[in-house]
Symmetry: C2
Subunit: 306 residues, 2 copies
């Protein structure tokens, strides 16, 4: 049985890309954890069921979407049969056999899947030439808007904007910006969440030169709700740090200000050298930094690989 | 400037895929070493110039074809800007930034490129919708025939056969099998080569769990010419072994018998355990084994990763 799955602590791109790709490949969409409030909002909005929660790769054929990093995937990924990856991140995985790999440096995995669809390329990846219905177009649109933070992230490309418009037309969304703000607000309901939930909502593990590094992120329109919980979030990070980390970063991304406050636990020297900055105690605001993938991971990896 | 390059000790697939892809992407085809007799025959047959020899990635944008393994690429690959990989091997490379990656588990890289062309997908990889002229179709056909050893290798898929026929039509090759035999015979001119040349003609380095493993291969229609030089080839392998290897294998693949005699230097226990066989002194004939990628690398890697 073929399963399509995004990464742990799934975000909207991971969930929506898995659902749409499973539709075209006749596989089952899967998730590795609970949905965040934004993704819940999106699935409800377009009337689509949440994917099945899976905990093991055993006896499964697996296609990964939205990640190419073992530390972000099923713990026993090697016990299953990895047959493909559709992604927009760096290559962080090696295999012992040839597989299907489709990746482009664009704003979201949903962008890659949308382009495959609009160019009539589903057969190239072993899928069927089906029609993209409004509900699934809505999921892909939401994933693009979520991952590019309404086209504000540096990861945004022309093709993200172009395809978002085509998808919006199919999905019947007239005002992309208004819909995007509505969706991001759903994500920003951190007021009712406890610190651990906020930290884990969009949290990814990396391994750089044998060192374990965790990077969490929350994107908010109104930063005051998170600000109020900053001390508690930092405590939750310190607790997590005991699980063998060298460094943990947590980005509180201010969508309106277009920058991120970074909370740093652990190897502060690594952070300061990688970004060439000086921390104010445990944190610093990095103007213009909104993308973990493009602006946070590369300098860190470069530092650790030295 | 954009360069498209295959692997070290280039084979027909590496050279022809680089030339054709460079045509569609408006880049320059490059090679990392001397052409083998088969590839020389192919370029002469279709009247295409050999690619430029390059020795450094510095100040270059690079797209890799037919490999995804640092040990098989430019020594200073990290000094250039790797922007893409088009391949049909296992993933053996990681990156620090997102790149274009198109891979499928098919018989050759030329198959992937041909499918991209026939499905009108060149724009998806940033290329132009140009026409595939007979000379370039001939190169892609030759690469498919070479890598699948005339469709006899276990790596062969239906799509390899299908696309080869379409390419043959454009290239004006009426009898694919007859052309393939003619081409393979050119490769088999090992009679006039010295042992080092035979070993290096199609030789690839791998790193498994920190251990350096080299695997060379020669495919012949008439095995007697190589048989006569076996002692000298083994001596050449022993010489090479001094360069920090844990294990070196050399496959003398008998195209007619559809199997390979494997010469083994170094960690013989690793070889015997990985393949669950007993060596006769330094070698063994493995019936049905013709593909390094699919039948030799995976069991070895599995053994070393234990």
């Amino acid at each position: 049985m073929l399963y399509i799955t995004g990464h742990k602590n799934p975000d909207t791109d991971s969930i929506c890309s898995a659902i749409v790709l499973a539709h075209f490949l006749d596989g089952a969409p899967a998730r590795l954890g609970e949905l965040n409030p934004e993704t819940e909002f999106v699935l409800k909005k377009f009337g689509v069921m949440e994917p099945e929660l899976i905990k093991s790769a055993k006896d499964k054929e697996i296609i990964l979407v939205d990640h190419a990093e073992k530390s972000q995937s099923l713990d026993d990924l090697d016990d299953g049969k990895l047959i493909g990856i559709i992604d927009h991140h760096k290559i962080g995985i090696t295999t012992s056999e040839p597989i299907l790999y489709i990746a482009k440096p664009v704003g979201s995995t949903a962008t890659v899947i949308s382009e495959l669809y609009f160019r009539g390329m589903m057969e190239f990846i072993g899928g069927k030439n089906k029609e993209l219905k409004p509900d699934l177009a809505g999921l892909l649109l939401s994933a693009i808007l979520s991952d590019t933070i309404l086209f504000k992230s540096v990861t945004t490309t022309d093709i993200d904007r172009e395809l978002a418009e085509k998808l919006a037309e199919i999905a019947g969304i007239n005002d992309i910006y208004a819909y995007g703000m509505e969706m991001l607000k759903a994500k920003s309901t951190v007021g009712s969440m406890d610190p651990e939930e906020i930290v884990n909502m969009d949290y990814k593990d990396f391994e750089f030169n044998g060192k374990k590094v965790g990077i969490g992120q929350v994107e908010v329109i109104d930063v005051s709700e998170v600000e109020a919980k900053k001390q508690d979030i930092y405590k939750a990070l310190e607790e997590k740090f005991k699980e063998g980390y060298d460094l943990i970063l947590f980005l509180i991304t201010d969508i309106m200000k277009e920058g991120s406050e970074v909370l740093v636990v652990g190897n502060k020297e690594a952070f300061e050298k990688a970004f060439n900055v000086k921390l104010n105690n445990n944190s610093i605001f990095l103007d213009g930094v909104m993308s973990r993938k493009k602006q946070v991971v590369p300098p860190l990896e470069k530092y650790y690989m030295q």
